[in-house]
């Protein structure tokens, strides 16, 4: 039996070939200079394999040429105009290669990335191959990491292409095209009429960009409008001579009421306390406490951590993770899953890390009894496991090294134990008001030893006995002010988009990059942190749309969230492609 395997990128085709052929294969050129065809025997299924690839999507969607002149039609006609799907410019040679190879085989096996976009690309490939050989059998290989065991398993147990997922992507593509084109034209034409400076500029609209921009503008407005508020609190402290060192030590106590924003009320409490200023210890509690080890890693978490801890932007970190995945070092980096399958083989992965100079010892300890199954989060996209290292990478450099290191340390930490501590709380009554102080002793560091990104340190508290009485050294009414909130960092924006259902784990970073590229938002450094500031154009657009007075402004996240939700429903077979544009028009 002859099988044609098509991967999403040439590098993946190469990796798959290497694994399945055991290194024994022959190479042929294709009409496209970047793509090669690899031939070999695969005795495990009694077949002859040819492995090739595409370079992402093959087809482009666009309106018929009659609609391409901006002035020629009312932008809103675009909602009903017919859309053509044609092979992209530059991809004709790739399509030709598929055509030629498909004629010679009985089975087409799709090896694109296992996510919705990959399923859609798979459908494009199947379409082109069927034109060459109408009765070709189409199968799909499912895998989450480019390692031998998974690739062989995928080759020997192919499944069907999931048309529901492919249709969901198609529906969204068509919708985005219609809305994007219609609104971009409408918006640009209107603005160009009013503002000469914009003549010739395209002010683009995208249904994901706008809510993203909306978040940045919202926060900016909040920061601008902020007025600091005064508050007051009672500060209690006791200075004692520390027995062992002979030094003075001040123990501060926190008022249980926190702080109050009305001066007269705070003053009334303070005066009341001064009438009876002796403090008495009412309770001393000791209890076990712990610091939870990290959850299994999702794409959004990786981007947030990368942005905050490694100072790498969300888009860059995803690109790096993808590159590491293609080299076989990481599992598929686009995932929402934060729980592992109960049958997952942790030990073999931990074993691979035992050779590393930095964390090898920790990995070995895990093998010798330190292992504890990772925590289970609440999310499972049922497509891929949490991001984890699949092989030891000894020769990386620069950002790639730091990203791999973070992911590996996090993986090992998640397979370890929570850190344990001993917490003491002292409750004190002074003049009828309650105060408290806490101390912490870290007893077992556990996961903290391999995960330096979390901090937990000892806080010493001197000895106090129940019913002990003392005169506080300090009892003052202190004043403070609320601080201005900060502008959004990229990590904050990733969080907000994720929480509000804007974009998927795969596209969030892209949308952020787009609003920066389109100059709706600028990056501004403050110290070592990068913040996002809307440009005048960005603010103008959001306020303009808000003023239009739609019940749900286009810059608010609700509409996009609704679209994404309906996409999921299409995937799960609850809705058809045709329903969605209709539903959307109601908006």
């Amino acid at each position: 039996m002859r099988v044609l395997c098509v991967a999403e990128k040439p590098s993946i085709a190469r990796s798959i070939t290497q694994i399945l052929s055991g290194g024994q294969f022959s190479t042929r050129n294709s009409p496209n200079k970047y793509i090669k065809n690899f031939d070999f025997d695969y005795p495990q299924t009694n077949s002859q394999f040819t492995v090739t690839s595409v370079t992402g999507h093959l087809l482009d969607h666009d309106f018929e040429s009659a609609y391409s002149n901006w002035q020629s039609c009312d932008p809103f006609i675009l909602f009903d105009a017919p859309i053509l799907a044609k092979v992209k410019k530059g991809s004709e040679t790739i399509a030709r290669n598929l055509n030629q190879e498909a004629r010679r085989v009985q089975v087409l096996m799709i090896w694109t990335d296992c996510d919705r976009e990959g399923e859609n690309i798979g459908a494009e490939i199947a379409g082109i191959c069927r034109k060459a050989k109408a009765n070709i059998t189409v199968r799909r290989a499912r895998f989450s990491a480019i390692i031998a065991q998974q690739i062989h398993n995928a080759a020997q147990n192919p499944v069907q292409l999931d048309m529901a997922q492919s249709n969901a992507v198609e529906a969204r593509t068509l919708l985005d095209l219609r809305i994007g084109a219609a609104f971009t034209r409408f918006q640009s034409l209107q603005l160009q009429q009013r503002f000469d400076q914009l003549k010739g500029d395209v002010i683009s609209y995208g249904p994901c960009q706008f809510p993203t921009l909306g978040f940045v503008v919202s926060r900016y407005n909040q920061v601008k409008a902020f007025v600091p508020e005064d508050f007051w609190y009672i500060y209690l402290a006791l200075t004692r001579i520390e027995e062992t060192t002979g030094e003075e030590e001040e123990t501060p106590f926190t008022w249980r009421r926190g702080h109050l924003f009305e001066f007269e009320v705070a003053l009334a409490f303070y005066e009341h306390v001064l009438e009876n200023p002796t403090a008495r210890v009412t309770k001393v509690t000791n209890k076990n406490t712990k610091k939870w080890k990290p959850l299994p890693l999702t794409t959004v978490d990786l981007q947030k951590a990368g942005s905050r801890l490694l100072k790498i932007s969300p888009k860059t970190i995803l690109d790096i993770a993808e590159h590491l995945y293609q080299q076989g070092f990481l599992s598929y980096p686009r995932t929402e899953t934060d729980q592992y399958d109960p049958e997952f083989n942790f030990m073999s992965l931990i074993e691979k890390q035992a050779a590393d100079p930095a964390w090898g010892q920790f990995a070995t300890n895990l093998q010798n009894g330190g292992f504890q199954a990772p925590r289970r989060g609440k999310n499972n996209d049922k497509a891929h496991p949490p991001i984890h290292p699949t092989a030891h990478a000894g020769n990386l450099a620069g950002d790639e090294k730091r990203v791999y290191e973070y992911i590996t340390r996090r993986f090992l930490a998640s397979c370890s134990k929570d850190a344990l501590g001993w917490e003491t709380t002292i409750d004190v009554d002074c003049g009828g008001e309650a105060f408290y102080a806490t101390g912490l002793t870290v007893r077992e560091r556990n996961y903290l030893d391999v995960f330096p990104y979390d901090k937990w340190s000892n806080k010493i508290l001197p000895n106090f006995e129940e019913d002990e009485e003392f005169m506080p050294s300090v009892c003052e009414l202190k004043e403070g002010q609320t601080t201005r909130p900060s502008l959004l960092t990229e990590a904050d924006l990733v969080s907000l988009m994720d929480k509000n259902g804007i974009g998927t784990d795969a596209t969030i970073a892209q949308h952020i990059q787009t609003i920066i590229d389109r100059k709706y938002v600028m990056e501004r450094m403050q110290g070592a942190t990068k913040y996002l500031v809307p440009s005048t154009l960005g603010i103008g657009l959001v306020e303009g749309y808000n003023d239009v007075g739609f019940d749900r402004s286009l810059s608010r996240p609700e509409m996009r969230r609704e679209t994404e939700r309906q996409m999921v429903q299409i995937c799960e077979g609850q809705k058809t492609k045709a329903d969605e544009p209709r539903d959307h028009q109601r908006w």
Partner: protein
């Protein structure tokens, strides 16, 4: 028409301070008698229940006699505990002074938006999920409630010295007694 003595006695026992305005009570009782057609001889309990409901929903400024509740010189009394029977008061204003106005305002904004969405979702087709995918409506943060209480004549500034869980910002309506 004047209410029967049982009603007056019951009111005086249950709500002694401030004193109920007889004019208001007359009006209330007439309405109960004519609209609800209750017989004082046989349905006294129902009548009392209705009087109580009306009283608790009323604005004390209209239903009570001035000066019969909180002592008129209350502003001068410092550090004293009031003697005598408990005084009925209503909440005329409520906020929280343990949290900044900024944080309270943000919560209020989200609550208003959720209310808008819930209203709109109700108008659209029924196949749509209800707003639950966005999460529960956020509550105001709770630290120390700051209230203004009134007996119908005098307004008293108050704070929550120890937490009164039955009161909740955004839930407890003004006029709550």
């Amino acid at each position: 028409m004047a209410p029967p003595p049982e009603v007056m006695k019951w009111l005086k026992r249950k709500y002694p301070k401030p004193a109920v305005d007889p004019d208001w009570l007359d009006g209330c009782y007439s309405w109960i008698e004519s609209d609800l057609q209750l017989n004082p001889a046989t349905e006294l309990d129902a009548i009392l229940q209705n009087v109580e409901t009306q009283l608790l929903q009323s604005n004390l400024e209209g239903s009570m006699l001035p000066g019969t509740g909180l002592p008129l010189n209350i502003a001068e009394l410092g550090n004293t505990k009031l003697q005598g029977p408990p005084i009925l008061v209503e909440v005329v204003s409520m906020t929280d002074i343990g949290h900044s106005a900024f944080s309270l305002q943000n919560v209020r904004q989200v609550r208003m938006e959720r209310a808008d969405l819930a209203g709109l979702a109700g108008e659209e087709d029924e196949n749509q999920d209800d707003g639950e995918e966005a999460g529960p409506v956020p509550k105001y943060p709770r630290s120390m409630l700051r209230l203004q209480l009134s007996d119908g004549t005098t307004v008293l500034e108050a704070i929550e010295y120890r937490k009164i869980p039955e009161l909740e910002l955004g839930v407890t309506p003004l006029g709550y007694k």
